[in-house]
């Protein structure tokens, strides 16, 4: 099947991911600015099932956060031009009333941010904030909600939750704030949890604790999780499937195992090849991706990666002029690249695989 999922009205059956819990179809998020239109997300499609963890990776500015804010309906009104569909159990959230989305948020979907302070109110105790969030969606007394809040804080590993529940966010350390925000996000048992760089601001030993926590809670609640990060190590720890984004578009989608053992996109090759790895012999020299990330106002024509891609000249000029379609090249492995499958196999076997 080769129907293009990137075109408006493309066949919805051909999209990465299997199921119907969350369906993102041809999402476009454009910001008009004085310098021109910033095309932060430009034709993105994927599916997500309950119980599944999807990792979205890409360099800074590739559109990861904008995607998650669109799903959560968190772009302030009037700032972004959004088109396409975000279907949560068939219910289209794009264009839905703010009231409707607010109801879903918290109850059906919740988000964890990179900076917990931005998501928590400095003047209210941590407990108060969890209690209020819980009572918006659950008709219970303050006592019951407070007990639930203490429960949740204990579950995410806050020591002495019974007394820490009355402390303010600034009295918590960075790792504890991140835990408290996770407790708040999970207090209504959401089916969809989006974690945007949840551990980027944390130290590596605390990061390991938080990743364990997200993994355990996900298994316990069987929720659908999207984890957004620029750290390939973090997605390798958590994700079932991985979506690699470049310049607001999907470059590659596959199971986490395939992304790490048989990646097919030159950008994915570049990412995997450029980072020093503790689990490999130390290389004398790193192999960076040449050039710099693209401007999203003047996105390169054709394949947006072409100015940095060493294989662009293998395709008779198509890379500079035609946007590659995002196609299923093998079961559940999607790719947007003009390379012929012979060339791809050859490059992978000869140049890339021996280096990784």
């Amino acid at each position: 099947m080769t129907t293009s999922p990137t075109l408006e009205g493309g066949d919805p059956a051909v999209r990465p991911g299997i199921g119907g819990f969350l369906q993102v179809k041809d999402l476009r998020v454009h910001f008009p600015t004085d310098d021109g239109v910033v095309k932060s997300v430009d034709g993105l499609s994927f599916n997500l099932e309950l119980g599944e963890t999807l990792g979205i990776v890409g360099e800074s500015g590739s559109g990861k956060s904008v995607t998650s804010l669109s799903i959560m309906g968190l772009h302030p009104p009037g700032t972004a031009k959004i088109s396409g569909q975000v279907l949560l159990k068939g219910d289209n959230l794009i264009g839905a009333s703010r009231e409707h989305i607010r109801k879903l948020r918290g109850k059906n979907m919740a988000m964890i941010f990179q900076d917990p302070l931005s998501a928590m109110h400095p003047y209210y105790t941590v407990g108060h904030q969890i209690i209020e969030a819980y009572r918006v969606h659950n008709n219970v007394s303050k006592q019951v909600a407070r007990k639930h809040a203490i429960d949740m804080l204990g579950r995410v590993g806050i020591p002495q939750p019974g007394s820490r529940v009355d402390e303010y966010p600034h009295q918590f350390s960075g790792g504890m704030r991140q835990r408290a925000m996770i407790a708040m996000a999970l207090s209504c048992d959401p089916e969809l949890l989006i974690a945007d760089e949840p551990t980027t601001a944390l130290d590596v030993t605390v990061q390991a604790q938080i990743l364990d926590l997200i993994r355990d809670l996900q298994q316990e609640f069987n929720s659908a999780v999207i984890i957004i990060t620029h750290d390939l190590g973090v997605v390798a720890e958590l994700a079932d499937n991985i979506l690699v984004m470049y310049a607001g578009r999907a470059a590659e989608y596959a199971t986490a195992h395939e992304i790490f053992t048989a990646p097919q996109h030159p950008y994915t090759w570049g990412l995997l090849g450029s980072m020093p790895r503790l689990d490999r012999e130390r290389a004398e020299r790193l192999r960076p991706i040449p050039g710099t990330p693209p401007s999203l106002i003047n996105v390169p024509t054709g394949c947006p990666f072409h100015p940095r891609c060493v294989y662009a000249e293998l395709n008779g000029g198509a890379c500079e002029t035609d946007r590659p379609e995002f196609l299923e090249i093998s079961p559940r492995h999607f790719l947007a690249c003009h390379l012929s499958s012979q060339d791809r196999q050859r490059v992978w076997e000869n140049d890339i695989k021996p280096m990784l």
Partner: protein, 359 residues
């Protein structure tokens, strides 16, 4: 009392051989006073750095690693004398620079330079690239061989930018390019020692590799010595000849890169390495993980004796009562722990008996 730590620093450099020492740091300390109330009375101190001894050899890269707040930046700022130590000594090329006055600082400013973590905040947005990179010449009143402009343009080329970038402003550049501008500025006066504070952590992986390669090329070409500060252990392994691990203001382990990564001896180093997420899905279940509990304690009120004892899975009573000395447990490999890991076939008591600075 500084005699014991002095021995510690120099005996270490003798034992591991190698080139001459460009920097000898002994019992270095920085306590920031905490003041309260109208009279701003001192009510306590942040023990940001508390007794670091190490040497840096000419031409090598020594990395300082550790979690946020452990004192890496503070150490780096003392080495470049952007901060004055509250205790200990720093010898640069044999000269004591610990408390050197502003007036005598000028030659030091040429020899020792710092690269900062944030490529956005460290460049003045109202100045052109030419002004920024040329600033050291003006500040130091240095006459350049040709015009300053020509020299600056040569520097830009050296770091992989174009001479035409001379009249452009920082905001026109990407993060990686801005970091190159910062590097060009640091190189302007041909320094001998560069302290680089998280030089690549604000950059994307693909750009990180470009800047790391650049730093390595410049080191080879110009014979630079680096002290790098970083928290990414994979990046550190790639860049360093030797690595020093810090915890709460103390050095807990220092060794050559390979022994440190292959046979870490301090429990904290072991935990740190085990926490690094590995980009390999096959590792998910197989790894023997060590999970530390809790966060790094506050440097205002650090735990007694071994500061790691509140999080260490090997801690025994002695760990909270007697501070373990930084002892050389293998040639060039110094560790501060009562119950080190990976010690297998070493004559432990013999080595530890003559270790200096016994408590």
């Amino acid at each position: 009392m500084t005699s014991a730590p002095t021995n510690a620093a120099s005996s270490q450099s003798n034992a591991s051989g190698g080139g001459e020492d460009i920097l000898v740091v002994t019992d270095l300390q920085k306590h920031f006073p905490i003041r309260r109330g109208l009279l701003q009375r001192k009510v306590g101190a942040v023990q940001a750095v508390d007794g670091m001894s190490f040497t840096v050899r000419k031409g090598e890269t020594l990395s300082l690693v550790g979690e946020s707040g452990c004192g890496k930046t503070t150490t780096g700022r003392m080495l470049t004398r952007l901060l004055e130590p509250t205790g200990g000594t720093i010898l640069f090329e044999g000269r004591d620079i610990t408390h050197i006055s502003m007036g005598k600082m000028r030659p030091l400013r040429r020899d020792v330079q710092m690269i900062f973590q944030d490529p956005y905040g460290s460049l003045n947005p109202r100045h052109t690239v030419g002004t920024i990179v040329g600033a050291p010449f003006r500040l130091q009143n240095v006459k350049t061989e040709h015009s300053t402009k020509k020299t600056v343009q040569e520097l830009l080329e050296l770091v992989g930018l174009s001479p035409e970038h001379y009249n452009r402003y920082p905001h026109e550049f990407s993060g990686g390019q801005r970091q190159r501008i910062g590097i060009a500025r640091a190189l302007a006066l041909k320094p001998k020692l560069i302290v680089a504070d998280e030089p690549v952590s604000a950059l994307d992986v693909s750009i990180q590799a470009q800047v790391i390669n650049l730093l390595e090329d410049l080191q080879d070409e110009l014979g630079l010595t680096y002290v790098t500060i970083a928290h990414d252990l994979s990046v550190v392994r790639h860049m360093s000849d030797r690595v020093a691990v810090m915890y709460l203001g103390k050095m807990v382990e220092i060794a050559d890169r390979t022994p440190l990564y292959e046979r870490p001896m301090h429990p904290y180093t072991v935990a740190l390495m085990s926490a690094v997420p590995i980009p390999d899905t096959g590792r998910r279940t197989k790894r023997d993980r060590i999970r530390l509990e809790g966060d790094v304690p506050s440097p205002i009120n650090p735990p007694s004796a071994c500061r790691f004892h509140t999080r260490c899975w090997k801690a025994k009573e002695i760990c909270s009562t007697i501070e373990p000395p930084l002892a050389e447990l293998a040639p060039g490999h110094r560790v501060a722990c009562h119950f080190p890991e990976n010690l297998i076939d070493l004559p432990v008591p013999a080595v530890r008996a003559d270790s200096p600075a016994a408590p």
